[in-house]
């Protein structure tokens, strides 16, 4: 799965990407095309790099990276042996100078995780006068003949007075000669630079990668994210897990996000709890953090150790696709069926299902959820669902949102044995200041 596809998972990953300040378009391109990492070694290598950037001051480098341009096509044309235009040669020179500048900054900061190839030869080829400025044209010093012709052109063009027909003709011939010599020089330059195409490509790629790392490190500091530990043993724990988007949202109302602790392994997990207790937020955040880890971002928790998976499925019950002619119930059942098939095939999957069978009657709904937990009693990754139904299965781990205490919602999770779900719906509805007669009638019905 590429990061671009992962952005469609409705868990808040897009929010994280929008708040990731990558400076260059090629950095963004690199991140969007990144594949989800699944092995311990590659993820650890990635975080090793990120860690070094995190511990350095890269603000000046980030500022320079704003000027990084995506010239992949130009480099490809150079590698193919095409004669480049002077605009393209300018792009090459610009990249080489920028790369050298950033290489110097990296050296100053003693950053070693990003290596940039030496492009001095490219610079000297495109800067015959040794001016060391990022501008380019076919300099006079490339050819004596060119110098002479240009002298003649300058003499004719002079101060822009009207030319006689004769002079005009002479000028046209000179300009044509000038263009011919420029072409020959561009051919030579392109040929001379051809061997550096792979170095240039490497420089462009590594600079884009650096841009992404700096953005991620900056995001970690700004959003208080942590470096995750990863494993393949099957157990995952989070301490102080939070959802950045929700945290920001409620901070605007002057409230604080209550961090959550959770751990799980191959045994299915059920989360029960009152309405508005943040069960769905927990599921979304688990999906989000799994993606953040496997795409090399900082993770939204105080600390964590995460079991790596091959696939992440988040089923939050709004898969209703009227266009496909399916009701919400049918769409949900089909989505869960896919999860069952995958776990049977032994796919290492993190499957997160929010209130399965919620749209049907409670009696059959309970039966369906219990049946689901009997069917998936052991998964290679992890299987977590939330529910309001009384589930009696033994082979599950149960969490319960602490819920209302003295009219205040406690969102933290606690492990629990009993299957009995909390009965707080009416109290919570009442706290929302809705129609009092409705609440009275509901209470009466409950007591009957």
């Amino acid at each position: 799965m590429t990061f671009k596809l992962a952005l469609d998972i409705d868990c808040g990953i897009r929010h994280m990407y929008n708040a990731l300040y990558i400076m260059s378009s090629c950095g963004r391109k690199l991140q969007l095309s990144a594949r989800m990492m699944t092995t311990e070694s590659e993820i650890e290598a990635y975080y090793y790099q990120l860690n070094e950037i995190y511990n350095s001051d890269c603000s000046r480098i980030a500022h320079r990276l704003m000027y990084l341009k995506d010239i992949e096509t130009t480099i490809k044309r150079l590698a193919d042996g095409t004669t480049l235009s002077d605009i393209e040669l300018f792009e090459i020179k610009y990249l080489a100078i920028l790369s050298k500048e950033i290489w110097q900054m990296l050296t100053e900061q003693s950053i070693t995780v990003i290596q940039l190839p030496c492009l001095d030869k490219v610079i000297s080829t495109l800067d015959p006068d040794g001016l060391n400025i990022a501008s380019f044209y076919i300099y006079d010093s490339y050819s004596d003949e060119l110098r002479e012709i240009r002298k003649a052109i300058r003499h004719l063009q002079g101060n822009g007075v009207e030319l006689t027909d004769e002079q005009r003709q002479e000028l046209a011939i000179l300009l044509e000669k000038n263009a011919d010599i420029e072409l020959a020089i561009r051919e030579d330059l392109s040929q001379a630079l051809c061997t550096y195409a792979s170095d240039l490509q490497q420089a462009l790629h590594n600079l884009s990668h650096l841009d992404v790392l700096i953005a991620k490190a900056e995001q970690m500091k700004r959003m208080h994210l942590c470096f995750p530990k990863v494993n393949t043993s099957g157990t995952t724990y989070y301490r102080g897990m939070f959802n950045p988007a929700v945290k920001e949202q409620i901070a605007t109302q002057g409230r604080e996000f209550m961090p959550i602790d959770i751990n799980f392994n191959h045994t299915p997990v059920t989360i029960i709890g009152a309405n508005m207790g943040g069960k769905s937020v927990v599921l979304r955040t688990l999906a989000l953090n799994q993606l953040l880890t496997q795409f090399g971002f900082g993770v939204a928790a105080h600390d964590c150790n995460i079991n790596l998976v091959e696939e992440i499925t988040l089923c939050i019950g709004d898969e209703q696709s009227v266009s496909k002619g399916l009701s919400s119930f049918a769409a949900e059942i089909l989505a869960i069926d896919t999860i069952i098939k995958k776990t049977r095939e032994g796919v290492n999957i993190l499957a997160l299902v929010d209130e399965p069978a919620r749209t049907t009657n409670p009696i059959e709904g309970t039966a369906l959820v219990e049946g689901l937990l009997q069917t998936i009693d052991h998964v290679k990754g992890a299987f977590i669902l939330t529910t309001h139904y009384n589930i009696m299965n033994d082979q599950v781990k149960r969490y319960r949102v602490k819920g209302l205490h003295n009219g205040v919602m406690d969102y933290t999770l606690q492990e629990t044995q009993c299957g009995e779900v909390p009965h707080e719906a009416i109290a919570i509805a009442e706290s929302m200041c809705i129609d009092s007669q409705w609440i009275e009638n509901a209470k009466k019905n409950l007591n009957n």
Binding site: I87, Q157, G158, N159, G160
Partner: protein, 339 residues
């Protein structure tokens, strides 16, 4: 050498024409040839296409743009490749036009080039910003046919207007139409303490009442005004339209009994799309229009020759325009104005 020194008082200039073939490029060349480049770093761009030697519509001969050594220009990649001068590339912008990316170069050997740069207001503002980063202290924007937007004070601080026989081949009509445009350009700035309330409004129609309280009329634009609605001038001292001002709003206010108490305000003259007739009625009933921003009209240039071959008498035209506009009028082609 008329008006060159005046230009140097500003950091940005736009040249706008009231019609095609009114001598805009002649005017640009006149300026480019005379600017003291040892004093100023100058950059030129165009929101249309400038410097091609044959008109794409009327197939008549057109003046080409001559760039002197040391000047900067921004044009599309396609035209850069066709340049007939030697120049050093200094920047490639991320913005794309239909003719490729926009590149900026400094002229090392003078010559001719076709110029076609950024075209929208915001991209022009970005262009001016990036030129300032290059140390440019005079940016010149060549406007395009019947598009005054580049002359908006939000973009350039000073402007030069080109008019001529191509706009109308009847001297009196030409004078009357030009006078109306110049009148709009010369509308006075709003002088009111509540001016700051209006600056950040980007759309809609707003009012400021006699107690200096701002009111949103909940109209998406002045086009949504219907004369049968309630009178929006009630208790108001200012009516502000952030978008275009059209006859509909103007007439609605002209018909109101409060017309003498209320001032109609627009962002700048480029937002005004009213007919002269409606404006005259509005004024005769005591109405007044003010602007939030204003740019300086430095001069008016005329071209007495129309592309269809019709030629007006330059002296009479200049004299009549001068009388009507109370501004210096220049026929650059005829007078040459050599140094």
């Amino acid at each position: 050498m008329p008006f060159i020194n005046e230009i140097l008082e500003y950091e940005s200039l736009s040249i706008v024409g009231l019609e095609k073939n009114v001598g805009k490029t002649e005017c640009l060349n006149y300026i480019l040839n005379r600017l003291p480049l040892h004093e100023r770093k100058v950059a030129v761009t165009s929101i249309g296409i400038d410097g091609e030697n044959k008109d794409q519509v009327t197939a008549t001969k057109k003046p080409e743009i001559f760039m002197r050594e040391g000047m900067y220009f921004s044009t599309a990649e396609t035209f850069y490749k066709e340049r007939r001068l030697v120049s050093e590339l200094v920047d490639i912008s991320n913005e794309r036009s239909s003719l490729g990316r926009i590149v900026t170069a400094r002229v090392t050997i003078p010559g001719k080039v076709i110029i076609s740069g950024p075209s929208s207001g915001t991209s022009l503002q970005r262009w001016i910003g990036s030129m300032q980063q290059l140390g440019i202290n005079l940016t010149i924007i060549d406007g395009a046919i019947s598009r005054l937007s580049s002359a908006s004070p939000a973009i350039s601080k000073a402007m030069i207007l080109s008019t001529g026989a191509a706009f109308s081949s009847n001297i009196d009509t030409l004078v009357r139409k030009t006078r109306f445009v110049v009148e709009m350009m010369a509308l006075p700035l709003l002088e009111d303490t509540s001016i700051d309330l209006l600056r950040d409004k980007d759309n809609g129609v707003w009012g400021i009442d006699i107690h200096d309280a701002i009111k949103d009329f909940k109209l998406s634009s002045a086009l949504a005004i219907n004369t049968t609605d309630v009178d929006i001038t009630q208790e108001m001292k200012i009516i502000y339209t952030a978008g275009a001002l059209t006859d509909r709003l103007l007439n609605a206010i002209a018909d109101s009994k409060n017309i003498r108490q209320v001032t109609l305000v627009v962002k700048d003259f480029t937002k005004i799309f009213i007919s002269e007739g409606a404006y005259r009625i509005f004024c005769s009933r005591g109405g007044k229009i003010r602007v939030l921003q204003k740019s300086k009209l430095i001069a008016v240039c005329v071209n007495p020759t129309a592309p269809n071959g019709y030629v007006l008498d330059s002296d009479i035209l200049c004299r009549k325009l001068e009388e009507a506009l109370q501004l210096p009028i220049y026929d650059i082609v005829k007078n040459k104005y050599d140094i």
